[in-house]
């Protein structure tokens, strides 16, 4: 309700109203700003009066619900994480099936060429795979701020994915479900060119999601491009990025979406001793752009990089609520993302410890269900 509304207009007993007027608090906004317990103590309200006031200030059904941890766990188990097509990367997210979890924001950062967009495209396709095979059985929205989404490349990945789906359904004796064209049509794509368009898009996203409940994934590639160095007012930029981040987080929660946001790297200048080092295990003087405010909004944060030479790439999870920091290797080929192809290379070696099965055995990809093994186990 409007904060400027005078307090005297609340429906309270005369006694209570007098107390409030004499206390000097004139508007509803003033009243809402104080914890009710302190207020009650200050004005010497009885518990009934305090409860009355509370009811008036925050009418029932204002949206605050509470759940037990048990209920939350049950709900979470029903949700569908989306596979990245690399069981190694899937495993660093933990959880029963591995893969990028819904209801939260996952950040993927990295230098140019590290594979962020490729992973984004792969996820946009995988979101459409049936749940039994590691997908979410829904469609995707891809918000492109950089122009790195190439439909022809997405088409390549879609064909490869469709071929595998066909194989699996042939083996299982069911009808093949998704053709390459269907997979492409299942990706809603839009391109934004300026911060204003980006703000508008995020705002509109809410109504789009209402109308299309089948959407299971939103990819923002990338969030940093529009905001780095363009804004002279850094505080305003921080507020803007934080507000947009929160909107995305809310949408993720409300609609059980997987939200993946790409971020660029920026050079570390005059790095103080500890803070930035946490993000710089590779010691190459770069850290994720947009700062701590944005960083704290993301639930999971991964950095993609490659050490040059060979076709092997790495993904490092450096923020996660459940899993320890760890690094895995993966591969990007003509057919998309996959685990490292040649098991005689270092395989999916883990650096820096971590809770992962399969450390000893190169061929064991960790928390992979048999369905996924069937799906991805032949690398040409």
């Amino acid at each position: 309700m409007a904060s400027s509304r005078p307090a005297v207009t609340l429906r309270l007993t005369t006694l209570l109203r007098d107390k409030i007027i004499r206390s000097g608090y004139t508007t509803v906004g003033d009243l809402c700003a104080i914890p009710i317990a302190d207020f009650a103590k200050e004005l010497k309200l009885t518990p009934e009066q305090a409860r009355d006031l509370l009811d008036q200030l925050h009418p029932k059904g204002s949206g605050v619900k509470s759940f037990t941890a048990d209920q939350t766990w049950e709900q979470e188990k029903k949700l569908a994480p989306i596979t990245t097509s690399s069981p190694a990367i899937d495993s660093i997210f933990g959880g029963a099936h591995g893969g990028i979890p819904p209801g939260k924001i996952t950040e993927i950062c990295g230098l140019p060429g590290s594979g962020k967009t490729q992973l984004g495209i792969q996820l946009a396709i995988n979101a459409q795979i049936p749940r039994s095979m590691g997908g979410a059985g829904g469609s995707s929205i891809y918000i492109d701020t950089e122009g790195s989404f190439v439909a022809r490349r997405a088409s390549q990945l879609a064909s490869a994915c469709s071929a595998r789906l066909k194989e699996t359904s042939n083996a299982a004796g069911t009808k093949p479900v998704l053709a390459a064209d269907d997979l492409l049509r299942g990706i809603q794509y839009c391109r934004v060119h300026s911060p204003v368009e980006f703000i508008a898009m995020i705002r509109i996203l809410g109504s789009i999601l209402q109308e299309h409940p089948k959407v299971k994934l939103v990819v923002v590639d990338s969030i940093s491009f529009l905001f780095r160095s363009n804004f002279s007012d850094t505080r305003m930029r921080t507020k803007l990025v934080a507000s947009l981040g929160r909107q995305l987080a809310d949408l993720a929660r409300q609609h059980d979406l997987v939200v993946v946001v790409m971020n660029q790297m920026t050079t570390t200048i005059d790095a103080p001793t500890t803070g930035k080092r946490a993000f710089d295990p590779l010691d190459d003087n770069v850290h994720p752009a947009l700062g701590e405010t944005w960083g704290s909004i993301c639930t999971h944060r991964i950095r993609l990089y490659d050490r040059g030479g060979g076709q092997q790439r790495h993904a490092r999870m450096f923020k996660s609520p459940t899993m320890q920091e760890q690094t895995v290797a993966f591969h990007i080929g003509p057919d998309g993302i996959s685990d490292v192809v040649d098991p005689t290379e270092s395989g999916n070696k883990v650096e820096g410890g971590g809770i992962r099965a399969g450390e000893d055995d190169d061929m064991d990809f960790g928390n992979t269900s048999t369905q996924s093994m069937l799906f991805w186990d032949d690398f040409s």
């Binding site: 967009t117 439909a151 204003v196 160095s229 050079t267």
Partner: protein
């Protein structure tokens, strides 16, 4: 900037917004502080408004709007921008819009992903001097004019130069070869038409550059599309295909922007603070340098955004030539240095006095620029050419010259990290009288 009058808001709301200086759709989306919806006015916002000339009372009027009214205005603004500016469709539809520009040689095209460079994107060509960057760009000036069936974009090109004289003589000899080569397939094409479809802009300094990017370039591009529409209309009216037809096909719409080079204006203007010694001494100079760097970053981002938007609007290909800079010792020990391109093993043996290619080099302008471009191609060589022709272009090529083109990163093709010639993303090339020619891998 669009006035909020287009939004159809209730008059009281609209007036309050205008009085608070939120009178454009863009400002409304950018500056509506989260605080307005949460009923806690941001003191900073209020100060800003006052400094913009908005009276304190104007701002207070804004505060009397209910959150739902403000949210309504905000939603209307978002819907307006979404409907008018944002193209929203499926990835399948996008396939139709994508096109590629051939580099003019099948081996080169194969190296960069199969069809050449992509439109609607910024591709950087980086390398040391005299390696062939400008040659490749000249070649693109010609291929862009070919019909789409032959790998071109049936368009014209804007050459934006910071390098001084345009290589006219070299262009002329390439044109002659080009026309001869395509005589059969494109009989319409002649040297005059080709020349007419290459526009030239000189950008002497940063100020000129900004002005051109912000005003002249968009207008120029737009004009070529307008006149294209006019010519199409004329064709429909008259319906005859003789003189008028060939006249109207002379001037093609701009499909390619070449910037040679993007580095110059940023490098030379990196001044150290303001002139004169101030008592603060070092502090002043350091602050000046730092703000200079920040300003440079901001300018780079701004130019990148402009180019990107233009490229997307009109389906253009954008090529930026970039120079290289040395990787300093401290960086080369960090692991790995921020994206240097790796010299070929052979270059370590090269011991010319002019080019010590034992040192690692990396493209200039840093990470900010790297984050702005879509794709990076790098040209390298191992030996100096035997002799230089006029205007600094090698007319004869040593037998030992070993030049390579590599893809460092690109969203539409794989890159070749190990410079293994058998993998895509990498090829050898030579420069002859026709231009840049790829050398197939003969393994």
């Amino acid at each position: 900037m669009t006035s909020i009058n287009v939004l159809g808001l209730p008059p009281s709301v609209r007036d309050a917004l205008i009085k608070a200086s939120l009178d454009t759709v863009e400002d409304l989306l950018l500056y509506t502080p989260p605080g307005l919806s949460n009923d806690v006015p941001s003191a900073r916002f209020k100060r800003q408004q006052v400094s913009k000339g908005v009276s304190s009372s104007g701002y207070d009027r804004l505060m009397n709007l209910t959150p739902s009214e403000i949210a309504f205005a905000y939603d209307q603004a978002a819907a307006y921008i979404f409907e008018t500016k944002i193209a929203y469709g499926s990835a399948h539809d996008l396939l139709q819009d994508e096109s590629w520009l051939s580099l003019g040689d099948p081996v080169l095209d194969a190296a960069v992903g199969g069809k050449g460079i992509m439109t609607r994107a910024i591709t950087e060509i980086a390398g040391e001097s005299a390696v062939g960057k400008t040659q490749l760009c000249l070649q693109l000036c010609l291929t862009v004019q070919l019909p789409e069936s032959m790998g071109g974009l049936d368009g014209s090109v804007v050459w934006m130069s910071t390098e001084g004289k345009f290589p006219y003589n070299r262009l002329e000899s390439m044109i002659t070869q080009f026309v001869a080569k395509h005589q059969e397939d494109v009989p319409d094409m002649d040297a005059d038409i080709i020349r007419e479809n290459i526009y030239y802009e000189s950008m002497a300094d940063q100020e000129t550059q900004l002005h051109i990017f912000n005003y002249q370039l968009p207008i120029l591009v737009h004009d070529t599309y307008l006149s294209q529409e006019d010519d199409d209309d004329k064709e429909e009216d008259h319906g005859d295909h003789t003189e008028e037809h060939s006249a109207s096909s002379r001037k093609k719409p701009i499909k390619l922007i070449i910037i040679d080079s993007i580095t110059n204006n940023f490098r030379s203007e990196l001044t150290v603070g303001s002139s004169g010694l101030d008592q603060a001494g070092n502090q002043g100079a350091k602050a000046g340098f730092r703000s200079s760097i920040l300003q440079r970053s901001a300018d780079i981002c701004e130019i990148g955004l402009r180019l990107r938007t233009l490229a997307d609007q009109y389906g253009l290909a954008v090529i930026c030539v970039n120079q290289v800079t040395d990787v300093i010792a401290a960086e080369s020990t960090s692991h790995p240095p921020p994206l240097p391109f790796r010299p070929l093993p052979q270059t370590r043996d090269f011991t010319s006095t002019l080019h010590d290619t034992g040192k690692l080099k990396k493209p200039a302008l840093g990470l900010v620029w790297e984050n702005t471009i879509n794709s990076r191609l790098v040209l390298q060589r191992t030996r100096l050419p035997d002799s230089y022709g006029t205007e600094g272009y090698a007319q004869t090529v040593s037998q030992e010259t070993h030049r390579t083109l590599s893809v460092v990163f690109s969203p539409w093709s794989g890159h070749n990290r190990s410079n293994d010639p058998s993998q895509p993303g990498h090829c050898r090339y030579k420069i002859d009288e026709t231009g840049v020619v790829g050398i197939p891998n003969t393994n």
